[in-house]
């Protein structure tokens, strides 16, 4: 999909926004993208997204999930309906949480929206929330702790808000509107599943990336071309590796190129891979800001060092060892084991 960026005139945008708001008033339970598209068939999906986002950030629309789609609802109608029977304090707290949720935590990737059909793993929401700590709610509302706790409990039981444990601080919780999705800062992103760090998953990715690079390096060496060509063909860009991993299909979640680079970095720290950065023409596949990161598998420069071939090199009680002591070379169990082997 090409990067088409069609300019939207401000006047046109206002017009579109109004049309969408009208639709919402007509259908107070909420409208979907499909509804808007039916009503405004000539509206470019991109422009639709821009308009919706503006309405959301201006606080005129609320965003909800229904089934697998997105629902847009007029804000006022919803809040007044929902908050019937709540006192003013509850409304205040709810507002604070809602506002926090409307500050979209991650950038909406327009291109991504267009590629829905091409991407197999699609999280379903392009608007994610970072949530808000209860301490911050207190600060903004100026209400005492006991009151806040009571209110939060109430709102939770009415399923208006929910608490999500943050991966950043496992004891703390953030609050957000019930229907929103927590973003990466809360969930930990691709590497966390329910706040559990997926060590095995990371390990598998680490191994797969390395295998890919190693194969490439071996192929380059066997090619027996000139040394310069050999070296250059042993490199792979992070984009190449990312593509390979995506095609492997081993990931349940969608991984970004940044994610892959994080994995590749661990391989650098493993001493197995080295990276170099080259200048790349704007627009080259895999280039970011005119640069491309290249990686290749490398061999270690030394074999395990001499001292690690003796028991003393790994001995946990080394400092207590002396001839004549309880632990000594003469009675060392590790030496005995080593000699027998």
């Amino acid at each position: 999909m090409a990067d088409i960026k069609v300019k939207l005139e401000t006047a046109d945008l206002a017009e579109i926004e109004n049309r969408i708001l009208e639709l919402c008033q007509q259908l107070p339970h909420g409208i979907t993208d499909q509804v808007i598209q039916n009503e405004l068939p000539h509206l470019e999906p991109q422009h639709r997204a821009v308009a919706i986002n503006r309405l959301l950030s201006m606080g005129q629309l609320d965003l909800l999930r229904s089934g697998t789609g997105l629902l847009y609802r007029l804000k006022d109608a919803q809040s007044s309906g929902k908050m019937k029977g709540s006192d003013n304090q509850e409304k205040l707290v709810y507002q604070i949480i809602e506002d926090a949720g409307n500050k979209v935590a991650s950038r909406v990737d327009f291109t991504l929206v267009m590629l829905v059909s091409e991407i197999s793993c699609w999280l379903g929401s392009s608007v994610l929330s970072a949530g808000i700590w209860s301490r911050d709610i207190r600060y903004k509302s100026n209400l005492p702790l006991t009151e806040i706790n009571k209110i939060l409990k109430n709102l939770e039981s009415k399923k208006l808000i929910k608490a999500v444990k943050s991966v950043a601080a496992s004891k703390k919780k953030v609050y957000m509107l019930y229907n929103l999705q927590p973003d990466r800062s809360v969930t930990g992103g691709a590497w966390y599943s329910d706040q559990d760090f997926e060590s095995e998953f990371v390990e598998v990715l680490n191994q797969q990336c390395f295998k890919f690079l190693q194969t490439k390096a071996d192929a380059a060496r066997d090619n027996k071309q000139s040394p310069m060509i050999q070296r250059n063909s042993s490199f792979a860009s992070s984009h190449e590796v990312w593509k390979f991993i995506c095609e492997l299909g081993i990931s349940k979640v969608e991984l970004s190129m940044d994610d892959i680079e994080t994995i590749l970095n661990t391989l650098i720290y493993d001493g197995k891979v080295e990276m170099t950065i080259i200048a790349a023409k704007e627009g080259t596949v895999g280039s970011v800001d005119g640069q491309m990161k290249l990686y290749r598998a490398v061999n270690p420069i030394i074999h395990p060092t001499g001292i690690m071939r003796t028991p003393c090199g790994l001995c946990p009680v080394f400092d207590d060892c002396y001839e004549g002591g309880e632990i000594s070379p003469s009675n060392c169990a590790y030496m005995s084991e080593w000699l027998e082997f």
Binding site: T262, T266, E274, P300, T305, C312, E323, P329
Partner: protein, 537 residues
């Protein structure tokens, strides 16, 4: 000098020179310079024995003396030279690879005797080589041995010992209290004009019936030689092994090896060529070799290496661009000027050594964390978790392990004047130099431990060993007097089968420990070399 170093020195002295030399040597290592009487008093060793011990130590360049201001002679031991004993096999083996059996024996004799005159060395080596030659009258020519000796001097593997001043002619002056030994720079590698003509002499074989006769003759001959020593033209001109030169060679080998491991054979051969070209022009502690042009390098490649100039240039370019930074660019003339970054290479090798230790001791995850901190210089725990992609609990555990072994340091940087923990940066860092120093000490202690264990194993089986040696000796003398096969068999069977097994196990253990001592010395060498690059001015 640490206690670990002194302990190891003591063991080495004991194994190679005996208890008394050990007692004397270890004592002055501990106390520093001391005069004769004090050594005798402090160690409770009779004066004449102390004198003998000191003579031996001085002969082997392990102790030197100085006239103190108050007029008495003080003796000082050099721990670094004693530790070199561990490396003797490596020196000898290197001489073999470079100069064949002749070179091997010359270096061996010089190490066994500490210092020798050229004529004595040549004769000795010729005799030994003759022994190994087929018994058809062939003998090793002195000339051949001489020329190898000269080559060793020319390439600085051997050098002339400092000499006392010549006493004025005819003076009846008494010998100086402590002769001052001086080195003349120009003479250090100058071989005296000797015309050594002759061949090596074979010792009488053990098949000879007149055992006593032979030994008597041998003693007589040696006495004659001893008497005639004073008349030799190179009297007083002694030579010793130049360990620094060998170390330079070992360092070069380590660099070449690293490149071969990471890149390929051709790259490592190019680097070997460059190092060979730089041997004489580079001072022993230089950070870089002198710049070499790609043209020069091309001309100096070993014959048989037919790579084109363009290909060579490619290899040089790749070497210079490699993140290892062992090779650097230093100008454009002559097709491109290149240097070898010796200090950088040693630092990288030391770093790799530390990484190896972490890897083998604590595993891959810990090694990853170690390398990460090394690259990023300073990191907080959270950053370590994120970059290394390990969960918090594991990161904490591993950082603690590294901290407890002094492989990683922790620095507190307070954000606020009250140093409150919640408002303080806790930064982890790696200090290659200090970690290398600590690892080196661990290596010294390790070798000492290995020696102690080896001696223990031998001591445990002392009785059996002596029995076996006695029986061997009996068999040998019986063979000499022409005993029958059956009789020999009977004696052999005096060692039972389980005893044989025990002896074999002992031999296997001693071999394993000896081999491991050699291999720990490799680690010691890299660390010592790296540490010396950062302490010398």
């Amino acid at each position: 000098m640490t206690q670990a170093e002194i302990k190891l020195c003591s063991l080495l002295l004991q194994e190679h020179f005996g208890e008394i030399v050990d007692k004397v040597g270890a004592h002055i290592l501990q106390t520093g310079s001391q005069p004769l009487r004090l050594i005798s008093n402090d160690t409770g060793t009779p004066l004449d024995q102390v004198k003998k011990a000191l003579c031996v130590l001085i002969q082997h360049n392990l102790v030197s003396y100085q006239l103190s201001k108050r007029g008495f002679v003080e003796y000082e031991a050099h721990h670094d030279r004693v530790l070199r004993i561990l490396r003797y096999p490596h020196y000898i083996y290197t001489a073999k690879t470079l100069y064949g059996d002749t070179g091997e024996l010359i270096v061996e004799e010089l190490l066994l005797n500490g210092k020798m005159t050229m004529s004595t060395a040549v004769k000795k080596v010729a005799d030994r080589l003759t022994e190994t030659m087929e018994a058809d009258g062939k003998a090793m020519d002195y000339g051949e041995v001489s020329s190898t000796f000269v080559r060793l001097v020319d390439t600085h593997f051997i050098y002339r010992c400092p000499a006392p001043l010549e006493p004025p002619e005819g003076a009846a002056a008494p010998a100086p209290v402590a002769p001052l030994l001086l080195t003349s720079e120009k003479d250090m590698y100058t071989v005296p004009k000797l015309s050594m003509i002759g061949k090596g002499k074979r010792r009488r074989s053990s098949d000879d019936d007149d055992d006593d006769d032979a030994s008597e003759q041998q003693t007589k001959r040696q006495k004659k030689e001893a008497d005639s020593k004073e008349t030799l033209p190179d009297d007083g001109i002694y030579w010793q092994v130049n360990t620094e030169r060998f170390h330079q060679h070992f360092r070069d080998q380590a660099v070449i090896s690293a490149i071969a491991n990471k890149m390929d054979q051709i790259s490592s051969e190019i680097v070997r060529t460059m190092l060979r070209m730089s041997e004489v022009t580079t001072s022993s502690n230089a950070a870089h070799t002198q710049p070499l042009s790609s043209n020069e390098i091309f001309r100096s490649l070993p014959t048989g290496y037919n790579i084109s100039k363009q290909v060579l240039d490619q290899y040089l370019s790749l070497l210079a661009d490699d993140p290892l930074e062992f090779v650097g660019r230093s100008g454009d003339s002559g097709g491109g000027m290149f240097v070898i970054n010796l200090h950088k290479a040693l630092a990288t090798l030391a770093s790799a050594t530390l990484e190896s230790v972490v890897q083998e001791r604590f595993g891959s995850r810990c090694a990853r964390i170690f390398r990460l901190i090394l690259r990023k210089r300073h990191l907080e725990q959270k950053q370590v978790e994120d970059f290394a992609m390990v969960p918090a609990k594991e990161a904490k555990d591993m950082l603690y392990k590294l901290l407890s072994e002094n492989l990683v340091t922790l620095q507190e940087i307070p954000k606020t004047p009250d140093h409150a923990p919640s408002r303080t940066f806790y930064l982890y860092a790696v200090n290659i130099l200090s970690s290398s120093r600590l690892l080196l000490q661990r290596c010294y202690k390790t070798v000492a431990n290995l020696i102690e264990r080896r001696l223990f194993e031998t001591k445990e089986n002392k009785r059996l060993l002596e029995k076996s040696q006695r029986i061997e000796a009996i068999i040998a003398s019986m063979q000499a007097t022409g005993a029958e096969e059956a009789q020999l068999q009977e004696i052999e069977e005096m060692i039972t089968a389980p005893e044989r097994q025990q002896l074999e196990a002992l031999k296997r253990n001693v071999n394993r420990i000896d081999a491991s001592e050699n291999q720990v010395d490799e680690t010691i060498f890299i660390l010592e070399s790296y540490i010396s690059t950062s302490t010398k001015p």
